[in-house]
Amino acid sequence: MEKITLKKIATCALFSALATISFTLENLLPPIILPGARLGVANVFILLALISLGVSYGFIALIIKITLGSLFSGNISSIMYSLPAGIISLSLEVVLLKAVENLSVVSISVAGAVVNSTVQNLIFCLVTGAVEYLYYLPYLALIAVLAGLLVGFTVYLAIKRIPKNLIL
C-alpha cells in the first residue's frame, strides 16, 4: 500500500482533472474512421498517475475520468461499458508493470488500449443487443494499437523529462 500524502492527493486530483478535460474535449471531435474510436489522450494522464503516484491513485484517476467525463459529455450510459473496460485494462497494465521486468511502457500502453477497446465493444454489444457492432472489433483493435503506441510514447517522454527533485 502506498503512502498517502497531501502532495500525492493534490497531484492525483490534477491528473484526474486533466484526464477528464481531455476526455471531454476528445468527445467533441469526430471519431477516427469508426464510430466510437478515439485517440485516448486521457490515458496519458492515467498512466502518469499510476507510474508516478501508485496503483490506487491510478485507479482513482480512471474512475473520476470515466464518471465525470461521461457526465460532462452528456452520455451517462457510456459509464456502463467504459468503467469495466477501463478497470480491466488498467489492472492488466498494473500486472504487466509489476510482475514482468524489463518491459517498456509503450508495450504496456498498447496492451491496455487493445484490451480496453475490445472489452468496451463486447460489453456494448451485450448490453444493447446490437450484435452487428461485433464486426468492428478487429478494426477497433488495430486503431487501439496506434493509439496505444502514441500514448505510450508520450508517457515515456514525459517520465524521462520529469526532474528527479519533483518525483514524489
Binding site: 469526430p30 471519431p31 499510476l50 501508485g54 450510459s77 461485433l134
Partner: protein, 195 residues
C-alpha cells in the same frame, strides 16, 4: 561493552550486507524488484526484447478477432427497407417499394414527425420520449434505399451522426436515446461493412 563484542557486531553487519548484495544479484536480476514503478520506467528504454512477447500475443488476439467477420454465414438478402426501434420496441418501418412508405406504431405517433423533401427524400424527426426531451433527425432516400442520421441531441460525441450512410448492410445505434436502425431484407440479418 567489551571491544570484542563491538568487533563481532561489526562483522555481523558487514557480512549481512554482503549476503544482501549476493541475494540481490542472485534473485533480483539487477535489482528491478526493489525499485519503484517510477524508477523502473525512468530507467527503462523505449523498446525491450520482452516487448516482442506482448506484441506477438496482441497479434494473435487481433487475428482471433477477425473470426467475427466470418460470423454471419447467413445469405445477404436484398434490402427492401429499414426498421427503427426504440428501447426494443418498433417505432417506424420504412419500405419504399410497398404501398405504405412509412408505417408508424400508434404508441409512437406523437414522437415521429415526417417531412417530405424533393426527389424522394424524407426528413424524419424522432423524439426520444413523449416529453420530447431529445431527438434524432433521419434522412431517408427512396431512390437509393438509404438512411442517414443528420442531427442528434444525444451527447457531445454524436456517434450516430458520424456513422456512415446505411444502404445495404450495417446498423446505426444511438446509445443515449436507445434508437436502433437496421436494414430489413428477405433473410432478416444483414452484416455490416466498415467505412
Amino acid at each position: 561493552m567489551k571491544n570484542s563484542d563491538l568487533i563481532t557486531q561489526e562483522n555481523i553487519s558487514v557480512s549481512s550486507e554482503k549476503n544482501a548484495v549476493a541475494n540481490c544479484e542472485k534473485d533480483c536480476n539487477g535489482g528491478q524488484k526493489n525499485l519503484t514503478l517510477m524508477q523502473r520506467v525512468s530507467g527503462g528504454k523505449i523498446f525491450h526484447k520482452k516487448d516482442l512477447w506482448v506484441y506477438f500475443s496482441l497479434v494473435i488476439i487481433v487475428a482471433c478477432l477477425f473470426i467475427f467477420l466470418i460470423f454471419p454465414f447467413l445469405s445477404k438478402g436484398d434490402v427492401n427497407g429499414f426498421l427503427i426501434t426504440q428501447n426494443g420496441k418498433t417505432v417506424l418501418v420504412f419500405k419504399p417499394n410497398s404501398s405504405q412508405l412509412f408505417s408508424i406504431e400508434t404508441e409512437f405517433a406523437d414522437q415521429v414527425d415526417i417531412k417530405e423533401e424533393e426527389n424522394g427524400i424524407y426528413t424524419v424527426k424522432i423524439f426520444s420520449s413523449p416529453q420530447k426531451t431529445g431527438y434524432n433527425v433521419l434522412v431517408f432516400n427512396t431512390k437509393k434505399v438509404s438512411v442517414k442520421v443528420t442531427e442528434s441531441t444525444c451527447s457531445d460525441s454524436k456517434d450516430c451522426v458520424y456513422c456512415p450512410e446505411l444502404t445495404k448492410s450495417g446498423s446505426i445505434y444511438c446509445a443515449p436515446h436507445h434508437l436502433k436502425i437496421t436494414p430489413v431484407s428477405g433473410s432478416g440479418f444483414v452484416p455490416p461493412t466498415t467505412g
